[in-house]
């Protein structure tokens, strides 16, 4: 419910600075996902919001009130930990009601609340089991139920699904999405899994090296990545990057690299504001299509090395002039391994990045 604002948040361990001034505002009832590779500072940011790490510099505001000097217990938030962190000596019901019992709520109220949240996460029949007697998925639910029982407006998730196997993770992800619709809370969710980020988030915040790289809706980030890192991080299989140089060829701007010369659409060329220079050409595997008749200026000739069949789609690992390119196609497309084939690129699927600064052009 409340609005959370991080202002110039800095974290140092001794002389090592791991967060370099994080500015972030999370609106009411927003599901914000912090995503990034290991060590990018996303968990540290979350733990600072929770009060489990000290803030070196900057301030955290909840509804305009600074909270960074408060103990975790006084911040009124709920958290789901990566390793669940269930109290092993208490049964499920007591795990869920721990926070309420600390608040000395009336017994009847506690019981009702436990039953209510157990019902939400589907644990009603396990209330008297100890965590040791539960499966991984059930433990995960207990952790969620424990956080839900607290009735706090802010919900923090620290990689909650990363310990589950792939199938269960998909299932829990869907359940989370459903739960997210049922309970209106301000949620901050940390993950290194870009699929979780894309599917759950209202707003994705991509972090890398202690900086926020870009934030916005999943669609914004996917379609208009601010730099090469964001472009490469979101999307699976990841975006292809090819070194190219801008050249004016008979009035049209071309991106020319080893074995290709792609004409840029006029709108794109205009927006670039330059007609020469070293760039990196980024193309998502799904923006390439098998098309033997495509013109030179809109196609790559790729030597197909491996075809990875993943069901309806196949991922082709191809080679062009020393660089590796992946292509995602419908599996029924007839492809012969080892042959050099022509793939057309969709004009709107061309992303250009400055080769030195890696910023999107």
């Amino acid at each position: 419910m409340p609005e959370i604002r991080l202002e110039n948040l800095v974290k140092r361990y001794g002389n090592v600075q791991v967060l370099h001034g994080i500015d972030l505002a999370m609106a009411e009832n927003e599901f914000t996902v912090l995503v990034g590779p290991s060590g990018c500072g996303k968990s540290t940011t979350l733990r600072m919001v929770a009060g489990l790490e000290n803030v070196s510099e900057g301030e955290i505001y909840v509804d305009g009130t600074p909270i960074s000097h408060l103990d975790p217990k006084d911040r009124g938030l709920a958290m789901v930990f990566q390793d669940y962190a269930l109290y092993p000596h208490m049964d499920v019901a007591r795990n869920i009601s721990f926070a309420l019992r600390l608040q000395k709520r009336p017994k009847a109220e506690i019981e009702a609340k436990v039953r209510e949240v157990a019902d939400i996460v589907g644990l009603t029949e396990f209330l008297h089991r100890k965590p040791g007697a539960l499966s991984g998925g059930q433990r995960q639910r207990v952790a969620m139920a424990r956080a839900l029982a607290k009735d706090s407006g802010i919900f923090l998730f620290d990689e909650p699904l990363s310990n589950l196997d792939a199938k269960l993770r998909g299932q829990m992800r869907a359940e989370l999405a459903i739960m997210r619709q049922r309970v209106q809370k301000n949620m901050i969710y940390v993950t290194h899994d870009q699929i979780e980020a894309m599917t759950l988030a209202d707003r994705i915040v991509v972090m890398h090296g202690g900086y926020i790289q870009q934030q916005g809706t999943p669609e914004e980030l996917f379609k208009r990545p601010a730099n090469k890192f964001v472009a490469g991080f979101l999307g699976s299989p990841p975006m292809n990057f090819l070194d190219a140089d801008l050249q004016d060829q008979g009035g049209t701007l071309h991106a020319v690299g080893q074995g290709f010369s792609i004409a840029l659409p006029a709108s794109k060329a205009q927006a670039l504001g330059r007609t020469a220079g070293a760039v990196t050409l980024g193309i998502r595997p799904s923006d390439l299509n098998f098309d033997p008749g495509a013109p030179d200026a809109a196609a790559f000739d790729l030597k197909v090395q491996v075809s990875e069949y993943i069901g309806a789609q196949s991922v082709l690992v191809c080679q062009t002039g020393g660089a590796q390119v992946t292509v995602e196609l419908k599996s029924e497309t007839p492809i012969a391994l080892g042959e050099t084939l022509r793939f057309a690129v969709r004009p709107e699927g061309l992303h250009l990045f400055d080769r030195a600064t890696e910023a999107a052009l």
Binding site: L52, D71, Q82, D83, A85, L86, Y87, F98, L102, K150
Partner: protein
């Protein structure tokens, strides 16, 4: 069920070990039912006329009847037994309370000199108790005293009687204090290894759930290190119960413990073997009960299910 056939030497070794472990106890048990004559003669072996006379002598001050063979009850087993219980239990409880808090601080808090403190606790354990004897005896008798004319000292003297200043020597507290000091390092050391195993995220979860530092400690950490507490309790109780050297120097007539009492049965002229054996058997009972009770708490895998699967 098929068992592998073992080497006969293996069984011979097992039997030898069992004999070594159980033999003395069997001997003590058998001899406690013999008259001194039978014990000394040595010829009767396991064939003798059992008698409970030795037990009657040992327990004479708490029996409801007067045994026929005694004209004077010299042995105050009941009193010594209660002294032993008080000293062993109180020192065990104190050691555990102080020990678990110290261990927690050493494991979880970052402060200057933490590693030094941790190492020193173990080094102190290496000092043999006999080394402590002389200085402690001197301190307890001469330094840690309350003036008999003072307010508290005077009150104690008026209430309990006695002469001289009120000193730690000869009191339960004096012995308990030295036992706590003696056992604390090892208990801290044992408990540290148990506390390290409590996942930090459990404590963090409790903090987020609204628990203060003491609630985290008592409601989360303490229940999880119960096996460690039990092991430490058995260890401490056993040492405090059996300790002879320090207790013999620091106790007086009214505070002596059972081991001291047993040795008092030897005199220049006579060693009452039968009574010693009987008292020894009685001495062995409380630690056995205590261990059975405490070892129930040693359940492995207490933290199972706390964190990931």
């Amino acid at each position: 069920m098929q068992y592998d056939r073992q080497n006969p030497a293996f069984y011979a070794l097992l039997v030898a070990l069992i004999f070594m472990a159980v033999g003395p106890i069997v001997l003590m048990f058998a001899n406690s039912f013999k008259l001194d004559v039978d014990i000394i003669s040595g010829s009767s072996g396991l064939l003798f006329l059992p008698t409970i006379q030795n037990y009657e002598t040992a327990l004479c001050d708490i029996l409801w009847y007067e045994p026929d063979h005694l004209d004077f009850c010299a042995l105050k087993f009941g009193g010594a037994f209660i002294n032993s219980l008080i000293i062993a239990l109180v020192s065990t409880v104190l050691t555990l309370v102080i020990g678990c808090m110290a261990a927690y601080a050493l494991v979880r808090f970052r402060f200057m000199g933490r590693d030094t403190a941790s190492l020193t606790t173990l080094l102190v354990r290496m000092v043999p108790p006999a080394v402590l004897l002389v200085p402690v005896f001197g301190l307890w008798n001469n330094e840690f005293c309350l003036d008999k004319d003072g307010l508290i000292g005077g009150y104690i003297r008026d209430t309990f009687g006695g002469r001289g200043d009120v000193c730690l020597a000869g009191t339960h507290s004096g012995i308990i204090l030295i036992y706590v000091a003696m056992n604390l390092p090892f208990v801290i050391w044992i408990l540290q290894s148990f506390i390290v195993q409590v996942p930090r995220s459990l404590e963090e979860a409790a903090k987020v759930d609204g628990a203060g530092p003491f609630q985290v400690f008592f409601q989360i950490v303490l229940p999880l290190i119960k096996p460690g507490l039990a092991a430490a309790a058995i260890f401490t109780f056993r040492i405090a119960w059996n300790e002879y050297l320090l207790a013999s120097a620091l106790s007086d007539r009214n505070t002596k413990t059972v081991p001291i009492l047993i040795v008092n049965n030897t005199s220049e002229f006579n060693v009452e073997w039968g009574v010693i054996m009987a008292t020894g058997m009685l001495l062995a009972i409380p630690p056995i009960i205590f261990t059975l009770f405490a070892s129930r708490q040693i359940i492995t895998g207490m933290t199972a299910g706390a964190v990931k699967g």
